[in-house]
C-alpha cells in the first residue's frame, strides 16, 4: 500500500526581495503511512509551514516529488484538511457559516451543513458564539473556529500548523483529546506541526525533527506509547520522558544552531 504522504528529496526555494534565492527546504524526504499521526517539530523558521504547503498542493516544490496516496500532487486535493498557522477564517462569515463552509462546498444542503456545524461549534467550545463575526472573537476562539472548519470535513489527510498554540493549557488538553478521539474514529493521516515537543509526543505515532533552515529531516522517532491516550495523563508515563529526552537532544542542537546562526551570520 502506498504511503498516505510521501516527500522525496524535496527542495523549495524562494526569491528574496534583493533577487537572491533562499532555500527554505533542502532535500527533504518524509513519509506518512495511512492512518498514521505524524508530528513535525523544528526550530522557528525552519520550514515546517512550507512543508505543509507543499503537501497541501498550495505551493509546488522547486525540486523533488510530493505524492499523496501515491499520486503526484499537482494542486489542492479534495480530501485534505489544513489548519493554517495564520488566521484564515472568512471575515464576512459568522462563526456558524464559517464552520458550515466546508460541507456547503462539498455539496451538503444549507440545513444539513448548519446542523453539523452547530455540533462542531459545541465540540470546540464555542456554543453561544454562532452569530459572531471573526473580528469579534478572541485569538484563541478564532483558532478554534478554524479547527472546527477543518475537522468537520473529516479529511483523509489532515495538516495542522500549530493549531493549539493560542490556547490555554486546559482548553488545549481538551482539544487534543478531542482530536485524538476523532482521529482514532476516522483513520486519517495527520501531519501535525508544533513547536511543543511534549505535545508532539503526546499526540503522535512518529515525530519528525527538522533541521534549522534549510530544513531537512534530522531524524524521525517512533512514539510507542499505547493508545488510546489521554494527553493529560500520558506525560507522566516513564516511557514519555525517555522519548522526550531522546528527541530533545536532537532538537536542541538544531534550535541552537538556528538561533546562533541567525543571530550572528545572517541567513541570506
Amino acid at each position: 500500500m502506498a504511503p498516505a504522504i510521501q516527500l522525496r528529496r524535496v527542495t523549495k526555494r524562494f526569491l528574496t526581495p534583493k533577487g537572491g534565492v533562499y532555500t527554505a527546504i533542502r532535500d527533504l524526504s518524509l513519509q506518512v503511512a495511512p492512518g498514521e499521526f505524524c508530528a513535525l517539530v523544528g526550530p522557528t523558521g525552519s520550514g515546517k509551514s512550507t512543508t505543509l504547503a507543499l503537501i497541501s498542493g498550495l505551493e509546488p516544490p522547486s525540486e523533488g516529488e510530493v505524492e499523496v496516496f501515491g499520486k503526484p500532487v499537482t494542486g489542492v486535493g479534495h480530501n485534505i484538511g489544513y489548519v493554517f498557522q495564520a488566521d484564515a477564517v472568512f471575515p464576512w462569515k459568522s462563526v456558524l457559516d464559517n464552520v458550515a463552509a466546508g460541507p456547503r462546498y462539498r455539496g451538503a444542503s444549507k440545513r444539513e451543513a448548519r446542523e453539523r456545524a452547530q455540533d462542531w461549534i459545541s465540540r470546540v467550545g464555542l456554543a453561544g458564539f454562532e452569530d459572531r463575526y471573526p473580528h469579534q472573537l478572541s485569538g484563541g476562539m478564532r483558532k478554534r473556529v478554524a479547527l472546527a472548519q477543518t475537522l468537520i470535513n473529516s479529511p483523509e489527510v489532515l495538516l495542522m500548523d500549530e493549531p493549539f498554540s493560542a490556547l490555554d493549557v486546559q482548553t488545549r488538553t481538551l482539544m487534543e483529546n478531542e482530536l485524538l478521539q476523532l482521529w482514532a474514529a476516522s483513520s486519517a493521516s495527520v501531519v501535525f506541526v508544533t513547536h511543543d515537543l511534549e505535545e508532539a509526543i503526546a499526540l503522535a505515532d512518529r515525530v519528525y525533527v527538522l533541521t534549522a533552515g534549510p530544513a531537512t529531516v534530522k531524524g524521525n522517532y517512533v512514539v510507542d506509547l499505547p493508545r488510546p491516550r489521554n494527553v493529560a495523563e500520558i506525560r507522566f508515563q516513564p516511557r514519555f520522558d525517555e522519548i522526550y529526552q531522546e528527541i530533545w537532544s536532537d532538537l536542541r542542537d538544531e534550535v541552537l544552531v538556528s538561533y546562533e546562526r541567525q543571530k550572528r551570520i545572517g541567513a541570506a
Binding site: D87, F90, P91, A101, R106
Partner: protein, 290 residues
Amino acid sequence: MSVRSASALPEAAAAPERAGGRRALAARRRRLMVNGLRLLVLVVWIGSWELTTRIGLVDKFFFGMPSGIVQRLWTWITEGTALGPLWEQVLVTMEETVLGFLVGSVLGIILGIALGRNRLLADVLSPYIKAANSIPRVVLGALFAISLGLDLKSKVATASILVFFVVFFNAFQGVREVDRNLVANARILGADGRRLTTEVIIPSALSWIAASLHISFGLALVGAVVGELFGATEGVGELIYNAKNNFDANGVFAGMALLAVVALVAESLITALESRLIKWRPNPVTDVAI
C-alpha cells in the same frame, strides 16, 4: 472583589439599558450636528451664490441665481416644461440611467472578476480595455447614436460605457487584492472555481466594487445626459440643452439640481444595499477615537 459580584446581577440587567440609551442619545446628537452642518454648508454656498449674483459680482447670465433656479423648478413642477410634464422628463432620464447603470456595472463586475481571476486573459486584453477607456465618450455617444438608433438603446449604451470602465477597473483590482490565505483556505475546504468566486472572491472584492458603484450612478446619469445630446425628444439632459440654447442659465442649473437629487436618492439606496451586504465589517478605523 467578591463583595461586588453579589451586586453584579442587578447591575448587569440595568447597564445594557443605560448604555443603550446613552448610545442612542449620542447617535441622535451626532445626526443632528451632521445635518446642521450640512445645512450650514448649503446656506453659505447658496447664500453667497445668490448674493454675488445679485450684486453683480458674478454674471447671472452665465451662472443663474439660486432664487431664479428655485422659481424655474417651481414653474416646471406646477406648469410643466417646454418638453412636457417634469416627471416625464425625469422618468425618461431615470430609465436610461438605471438601465445604463445596471448594464455597465454588471458587465464591469463580470469582466473585472473574469480578468482578475485569469492572468493570461488579463494580460492579453488589458491593453485593449485601457485603450478603449481613452475614447472620448462624446464621440462614442455619436457612434452609438448612429449604430443603435436614437432611442433608449443608444443612451443606455453611453451611460453604461461610462459606468463600465470604473466598475471594471475596481472589480479587477479587488480580485487581485483578495487575501491569498483565504483563497487557499477555501480551496482546501473544497470550494470549486464557481464557489471560490461567489464565496470568497466576490465578498472580498465587494468593498472595491461597492466603492465603484458609489461613483457609478452619478456617471450613469452623466452618460444618459450625454446620450441625450445626440437626438432626444425628452429627458432632463434635453431640458438642460434646451435651456442652454435659450440662454436660460436658471434652467440649466435647475436641470442639474434635478440630476443631483436623483443621484442622491440613488446613492442612499446603494449605501443601504452596501451596508446590508458588508454588515460583517468592523467599524472603519476612523470611528475609533483617535
